[in-house]
Symmetry: C2
Subunit: 103 residues, 2 copies
């Protein structure tokens, strides 16, 4: 049986550098942009912005602008993104149990 | 809360080009090498071999040489690899329900 193209594309999308880490954080709760720079240390501003745009384009994450001074932007999972939680949760449990994929 | 390094590493390992597709196939049943080249069309021999070596090194896949003429090599999930099935299954269900991550 051939591998489903949707699965193939989804697993590689989620496995892109830092995308999984961003999804982990957002699967806990919504985050302000500045908070995301804290939970994923080592991730550059530029790459974080790009990954968030990709996640928005895929319909997984939604962006909200808050009418504050200065305005703040927050990110949350959409319904489609929330539906990813069981997969993330299974992978979290696996990585914890088996100590990741170190050689 | 910081993202777990084990999760971070695992999600990016599994999301490497073609690794998820190979895991999908092996989560169904063990495969001979030649069969794997069929289930993941477009994957070169060289990259398939590399990915299988990485999966072996991570303790997820085991290789068996069968005493036949000519000898054939098959690949199966280890206990650690089998433990990934629920995560793969959740991701399969998600990709099917939401048609992947197309923009």
């Amino acid at each position: 049986m051939h591998v489903s193209p949707d699965f193939h594309q989804a697993v590689e999308f989620i496995g892109k550098r830092w995308t999984g880490a961003i999804l982990w954080a957002l699967s806990e709760r919504s985050h302000y942009y500045a908070e995301l720079t804290q939970v994923v240390p080592g991730l550059s501003d530029r790459l974080l912005s790009r990954r968030l745009r990709e996640l928005e384009a895929a319909g997984i994450v939604e962006r909200s602008v808050h009418a504050e001074t200065p305005p703040r932007v927050s990110y949350a999972l959409t319904e489609k993104g929330t539906a990813l939680r069981p997969a993330i949760s299974e992978l979290r449990a696996w990585a914890q149990r088996w100590n990741g994929t170190h050689s």
